[in-house]
């Protein structure tokens, strides 16, 4: 019997389809947010692709971050001058911290993908493969530096880490990239 009560509670609090009076104001906000989403999606997906290294995680990341932003859209508009920049920073952070919290198999289990997912069009790009192989935080530092053109200090404040850590992560990342690209790059363009 008691099981019916939570069910009813949800019906009342959650999925009643009648727009309530206080919902009316949100319709306009939602439409505004919808416009924003439409406008920024391509750019954010691309950025997410760079951050996460694959289309699926990119879509996942973008969706999650945008939903959180949309849930407090008027606040974000009021408090941040530039919601796009805000979204990008949020994505960098979410990417790094999500990776720390949850492991990959969890994401896969939740939204199964893999095998028949769109073939990765970067497969023939050694540098892309090397970047993808970096740990998330190192990759985020690379993306913020070379995609976003942020300074060390800006990267530090975006990711909430010290400048020293930014520097060391960048150095490690560059060293890994060089090591991975050793054969192709050193023997090719980078031969002195």
């Amino acid at each position: 019997m008691t099981a019916l009560v939570p069910s009813t509670a949800r019906a009342v609090g959650g999925v009643d389809r009648q727009p309530k009076p206080d919902e009316a104001g949100h319709i306009e906000i939602e439409e505004d947010f919808g416009e924003f989403v439409r406008a920024v999606l391509p750019g954010l997906l691309r950025y997410g692709h760079a951050l996460t290294g694959n289309p699926h995680d990119a879509a996942d990341l973008v969706q999650g971050v945008l939903e959180r932003i949309g849930a407090r859209w008027s606040f974000v508009l009021r408090r941040t001058g530039d919601p796009v920049a805000y979204a990008r920073r949020a994505m960098a952070n979410a990417h790094v911290s999500r990776w720390r919290r949850t492991r990959r198999e969890n994401l896969v289990a939740e939204l199964p993908d893999t095998a028949v997912w769109q073939p990765d069009r970067f497969d023939d790009e050694p540098l892309w493969q090397a970047v993808r192989a970096l740990p998330p935080r190192q990759r985020a530092v690379m993306v913020l530096r070379y995609y976003e053109d942020l300074s060390e200090a800006e990267i530090a404040s975006t990711l909430g880490i010290s400048k020293g850590t930014v520097k060391s992560q960048a150095n490690k990342a560059m060293a890994s990239l060089r090591a991975r690209l050793g054969v192709t790059v050193a023997e090719g363009r980078e031969a002195r």
Partner: protein, 290 residues
């Protein structure tokens, strides 16, 4: 180990290569048609969840009142012979029929996941039948995907079955599914968006039958578990089933034998904050995706 002592050996070439890489057009991804809606709906869900949590006490109180009110209405109706249900006035009959006589709860039948399926979709049903019933495959991410030997599709009813309330009381018949009668143009934007909260992801086996459905969806189980429900609540609500199954009460997902269906399992995935982030109804009897 060498955190700070390694000099920055960046060579201009690698810098330039990285800038070139991140400017590469191939990083661009196609935007799926429906992702905007999915995002807007997801944002609304989060906002409401926040509001709901903040007002949880109040909501529960209101729920209790509505519940009692509904039960009273049911009993009263029976006594005055106006209720259509021919059930005897036993307590359980009253409890199960009473909510169905009130408009708000009737609408929610379409939001149930389990015990056999969701809306018109049922475990074991051929995937083609779902399309015939009016479910359109949309893909939030751009294309169908594979899990093992199964193919996953995200689907939604082309028109919500329950927009007009009580006429759709039977939850799982083809009648409850979209027909051409309802002019879609007349529906408000918000209704259309809300309808998509019923997005369901189905996994279809190599044999072509639905073996799993759910995902990140606005649906909830008959026991009231949906997105955002706390793990604690999941364990409490399904304590009996979990105990019977001897399932461990920890981890990133919780598998619960479905009450009322011996051949299916609910799988709730939990996010880092300990709430349900996706929910599935999985068939135990059909072939698996492996």
């Amino acid at each position: 180990m060498t955190d700070n002592d390694r000099p920055d050996e960046r060579r201009p070439d690698l810098d330039a290569e990285l800038r070139r890489l991140f400017a590469d057009e191939r990083l661009t991804l196609p935007v799926a048609e429906d992702i905007e809606n999915a995002v807007v709906v997801g944002a609304r869900r989060r906002r409401r969840h926040r509001t709901t949590v903040a007002a949880a006490g109040g909501v529960l109180a209101v729920a209790a009142l509505v519940f009692v009110g509904a039960a009273l209405t049911g009993i009263g109706g029976h006594l005055t012979h106006t209720v259509t249900a021919a059930a005897p006035p036993s307590l359980s009959a009253t409890l199960t029929t009473a909510p169905a006589t009130t408009t708000p709860t009737v609408r929610n039948d379409a939001y149930l996941l389990g015990p056999y399926g969701a809306d018109g979709l049922k475990l074991g049903m051929p995937a083609g039948a779902a399309l015939k019933m009016g479910y359109s495959p949309v893909s939030i991410m751009g294309s169908p995907y594979a899990q093992g030997k199964c193919i996953g599709y995200t689907v939604y009813p082309t028109l919500p079955a329950d927009q007009d309330g009580p006429t759709t009381t039977p939850p799982v018949t083809t009648d409850a599914l979209p027909t051409k009668e309802a002019p879609s143009a007349a529906r408000s934007v918000i209704e259309q968006k809300l309808a998509k909260e019923r997005l369901v992801t189905v996994l279809v086996s190599a044999r072509g039958s639905i073996v799993q459905l759910g995902g990140v969806t606005g649906l909830h189980t008959p026991e009231g578990i949906g997105l955002g429900t706390s793990a604690k609540r999941v364990y409490a609500v399904y304590a009996e089933q979990l105990k019977a199954a001897g399932a461990p009460a920890s981890g990133r997902s919780v598998a619960v034998p479905v009450p009322g269906n011996d051949t299916a399992t609910y799988v709730f995935y939990l996010g880092a904050d300990g709430t349900v982030t996706s929910l599935w109804l999985r068939s135990d009897s059909d072939v698996t995706c492996q």
